[in-house]
């Protein structure tokens, strides 16, 4: 398994003047790469840019000039949108937040067991878990729905949280196990010599040393539960319980072509994860490059 190492090479601090760096930029041909990359980045962000611009437009402003900034700004869109979107954001935080805590906790326990104890049947149980990575959501969607319906969970937050914990563990165990395995056994032996029991070696030594991998797993789990659309759509029908994705979907249907508040709602919906990203971009980069090793 490979992780993207972010700071693999030391950063060379250039001590030459601006003229030198500019001429170097020209000679090495880097300028063409910068130009192309910047264009691509601009195009990637263009929809979001337009979303931002439109979110500050009143109806007449939009009709006159839909895509360029118009003055004065019309921040009332945000008050309108906040009234609707805020409860969806709140619901999503509840669902993703509680499921991520349990997912990380349970997966860490299981991964620790798989990684460090050669109990009989270890391989079998581990492959039982890994096999689930190959089962597409399409196969399980309908039976899962009928199951939660039979359990009477429809239209509660638990109907999202419990399956998210169950499903989220699989990938988390996979990632964490290989990390735990790479820890030197001597460290834990030393702790046992000093009188620590198995639980203490795990809680006091194993976990604190694995903070980064726990962070990666947590961030990946939040990202996937935050973005889930189909499962909430089939299991939730009450407006007050809706998570962000289906909330926005319903909001779009209800406010179709009232673009200002709609775009303001999209902006508000994007903010929580962007904030999370701002503080944990390193974990995101690591997690997303490892996320593809799923198979």
């Amino acid at each position: 398994m490979t992780y993207a190492k972010i700071d693999q090479q030391p950063v060379v601090i250039s001590r030459q003047g601006l003229g030198y760096s500019l001429s170097r930029l020209w000679q090495t041909g880097d300028w063409s790469r910068y130009l192309l990359l910047s264009t691509i980045v601009f195009l990637m962000f263009l929809p979001f840019l337009i979303m931002f611009v439109i979110s500050f437009k009143s109806m007449p402003q939009f009709n006159r000039n839909p895509f360029l900034p118009t003055f004065p700004f019309y921040p009332e869109n945000y008050t309108d949108a906040w009234r609707i979107v805020s409860k969806y954001i709140f619901n999503s935080i509840i669902v993703s937040g509680s499921s991520v805590i349990f997912t990380v906790a349970l997966a860490a326990l299981a991964a620790w067991s798989f990684a460090r104890y050669p109990f009989p049947g270890r391989e079998f149980f581990f492959y039982m878990v890994i096999a689930l990575l190959m089962i597409p959501g399409e196969l399980t969607l309908i039976p899962s729905f009928l199951l939660v319906k039979a359990l009477g969970l429809l239209n509660t937050h638990l109907v999202l949280i419990l399956p998210y914990i169950a499903g989220g563990q699989v990938f988390a165990i996979f990632i964490m196990r290989s990390f735990f395995q790479s820890m030197p056994e001597e460290m834990f032996e030393a702790a046992r010599m000093d009188g620590a029991n198995e639980l203490q070696t795990f809680l006091r030594i194993g976990l604190p040393l694995s903070q980064s991998i726990l962070g990666v797993v947590a961030v990946m789990h939040i990202l996937s539960t935050w973005n889930d659309l189909i499962w909430p759509i089939v299991t939730l029908s009450s407006q007050n319980l809706m998570t962000l994705t289906i909330g926005l979907y319903a909001f779009r249907t209800a406010w179709y072509s009232i673009w200002g508040p709609l775009m303001a709602g999209y902006v508000l919906a994007s903010i929580p994860l962007v904030i999370l990203f701002a503080f944990t971009s390193k974990l995101f980069v690591e997690g997303l490059s490892s996320g593809a090793i799923k198979m």
């Binding site: 490979t2 693999q8 880097d30 980045v41 926005l248 919906a269």
Partner: protein, 320 residues
């Protein structure tokens, strides 16, 4: 108690210098008893997996052989559902064609474009800007997917959309149309959304591969006066073949499974112009309550994806 547990791990886990014969002497029951806490740690995980993963997966396979409308007792029909899918269900057959188009484009764009971007980032001299571009590539991933989809829906909108405004700007008013509402364009609009088709995750995977190439090899190509294109073709591409294969397989699987985007953008419409199998399954199950029939579509997708996964593991498995 304490001494016993010291023993467990001395002989246990990942250690390599474990005397094998000592472990063999213990009976299975002894070993299981010794590692009882290891099993305890697995109980919560497996309880949840049993209820929410194994059981539905099993039921999904099982019910695909039944005719089962909600409220009525399930009736075993053998392969009847599958026969109906492939002989009578014209919409399903059309959806197979649609999903093929979508998947082909996903593979083509997903493999090539992020590779070019990754090469450009990799060849920047300045480490700080390399890092900056890497973060910029990832940033759109953080915006909820639904926002991206709804924005593209707006771009394709017939009356207010950006695409039509751009066409008007370059004097092609006659091309204007409701891109998602026209049966002739809907499928292609959905296929080609997401311009410029740069997936940040894929770029990261490529970059990780490129960084794995030894610096010496790259330096020696420079000494030998090898052009950048030649280096990319003769050195980089063969050395990151593992990543290329991985991304191809992921794109195929993602394409076959990817129906959420279509669900949001067109709901398969207009009519069934942009229907794909996953969405057809959803419609059968949740609009028309034909659970057994829908399960058989799920089963079909499962077998297809399983087949591709095994093909991948057997023939193109790479060292990642």
């Amino acid at each position: 108690m304490a001494t016993q547990e010291v023993q467990t791990t001395r002989f246990g886990a990942t250690g390599t210098s474990i005397p094998q014969r000592m472990r063999k002497q213990d009976s299975l029951a002894t070993r299981m008893y010794r590692y009882r806490f290891a099993y305890l740690m697995l109980i919560p995980t497996f309880t949840l997996l049993l209820i929410f993963n194994y059981y539905p997966a099993f039921m999904g396979l099982y019910r695909s052989f039944f005719e089962w409308d909600i409220g009525l007792p399930p009736k075993f029909v053998g392969l009847g559902n599958f026969v109906e899918l492939f002989t009578e269900d014209k919409v399903f057959q059309k959806s197979l064609g649609n999903v093929t188009i979508l998947t082909i484009w996903r593979v083509l764009s997903g493999v090539t474009i992020p590779f070019m971007v990754a090469e450009m980032i990799f060849n920047l001299r300045n480490q700080t800007s390399q890092y900056t571009y890497r973060v910029l590539m990832i940033l759109p991933t953080v915006v909820p997917g639904i926002v991206g989809l709804l924005l593209w829906q707006f771009i394709y909108d017939g009356t207010h959309g950006l695409l039509n405004a751009l066409l008007a700007g370059i004097g092609l008013e006659s091309w204007q149309q409701p891109w998602l509402g026209n049966p002739r364009t809907a499928l292609y609009a959905v296929t080609f959304m997401g311009f410029p088709w740069v997936s940040g995750v894929t770029v990261l995977i490529y970059l990780a591969g490129l960084q794995g190439i030894s610096r010496d090899v790259i330096d020696s190509t420079k000494v030998d006066g090898c052009s950048a294109l030649r280096r990319i073709w003769s050195i980089d591409v063969p050395l990151i073949m593992g990543q290329i294969k991985l991304i191809t397989v992921l794109a195929i699987i993602g394409g076959l499974q990817g129906w959420v985007g279509i669900f949001v953008m067109t709901a398969g419409g207009p009519g069934t112009a942009s229907m794909v199998p996953g969405l057809w399954m959803y419609n059968n199950a949740f609009l028309w309550n034909k659970m057994g029939y829908a399960s058989s579509i799920g089963m079909f997708l499962f077998v297809l994806i399983m087949g591709i996964t095994f093909f991948n593991m057997k023939f193109v498995k790479s060292e990642i």
